[in-house]
Symmetry: none
Subunit: 224 residues, 2 copies
């Protein structure tokens, strides 16, 4: 079942949408303001986000920006009132995928939601799996045996780098350059520390790794 997060300060509208979603087979999650909405977006990792443009505190634009800043690619629809001043282009530029102008029919909204979900899931199935681990690159979620696993930013970045370069030896320097970038110059041993943690979190038996292998004298090799 797909989760849709609704962030809107108008409680009546929020509930209406929530009910509609439920009836249509989605799992709705509701948030009354931008701040708590953002938090839920990051922790809950919904499949789609609906966010009102105009809200006290964190508005829709801000929420959208911050979601994208967290490298989440969750499809996001902005709800805007008819009188709202807003720049469609800017909206899309900061990472919103679509917008709907109030008042809208539930039918229309639903169609948009479905279309967006379809689009963003078919564009690229961005889920890769190895061993007992699944990685959803779009939602930035990592599951082990179906259970949500918390990876830190560095761990996740390292993981995706491994995923992009399977089955070939990667030197610590390659890894540092690609994952950490040229700006920071951490010790090459830093890589080891993170590999250890990836093993502890992702390998069935971290003492006998089957996916994150060391190539003695060279670096590491990821085997899906």
């Amino acid at each position: 079942m797909q989760t849709v997060l609704v962030i809107d300060d108008d409680s009546a509208l929020r509930d209406t949408i929530g009910l509609m979603l439920e009836k249509e087979g989605f799992r709705p999650a509701l948030a009354a303001d931008g701040k708590s909405g953002l938090k839920q977006a990051l922790t809950l990792k919904p499949d789609l986000i609906l966010v009102d443009l105009k809200m006290p505190g964190l508005n829709g634009m801000e929420v959208c920006k911050q979601v994208r800043a967290a490298e989440m690619k969750t499809p996001l629809i902005v709800l805007s009132a008819i009188g709202d001043e807003f720049d469609k282009v800017l909206l899309l530029e900061i990472g919103a995928d679509d917008y709907v102008v109030k008042p809208f029919g539930t039918r229309e909204l639903l169609a948009r939601i479905r279309a967006l979900l379809r689009r963003s899931s078919s564009e690229e199935t961005r889920v890769v799996a190895f061993g007992e681990v699944e990685v959803d690159l779009t939602r930035r979620v990592v599951l082990k045996k179906g259970e949500d696993l918390k990876l830190t930013r560095a761990e996740y970045n390292l993981l995706t780098y491994f995923l992009q370069n399977p089955d070939r030896p990667l030197t610590r320097d390659m890894i540092l350059n690609s994952v950490w970038g040229y700006e920071s110059f951490p010790n090459t041993r830093t890589v080891d520390a993170h590999v250890v943690r990836l093993r502890q979190k992702l390998e069935a038996d971290s003492n006998a790794p089957r996916h994150f292998l060391t190539v003695h004298g060279v670096g590491y090799r990821f085997l899906p």
Copy 2:
């Protein structure tokens, strides 16, 4: 981190794409016209090039042609406006890898970029074989009768040196200089020790080597 060069005279679009790339973990490089773009393409050696078809001066087609004339295999995507007259076939013939028609969503562009990078990074598998041994230079894997063989760093380096210099006598000093480098000065007998191990691991009968031959008084010769 991968560098993407964006060549477009429309500064707004250029910047939008640049920002998007940055957010998605690429290092963007921007050029406002074909001439400077071409220059950057040649000096910067980006991982991918996005070039607008219609530009004053050097247009996208010209840029593409010249990049290919320089024997660069950098993946290249052409951006074209919806009304632009252009011949898709010709475009691909002169070496473009893909094209996207404006207006396009950042998601779509991104998907194309990723797909293309993935496609072109799959490098030709460089495999050499001799006797019952196969060496995969990209994966750094050595197979004997199809079975994975574990070589240490020194052994592997020595092996690749032999592979690069088949059928000619190599003195121990040449080998030391090329494989060990000028920094370390091990005893020349070290070479012998490693040749022994290569024979043991790679020869069908290490007592009657057929590939790693000794040239008495000189050194060794590799015969594929």
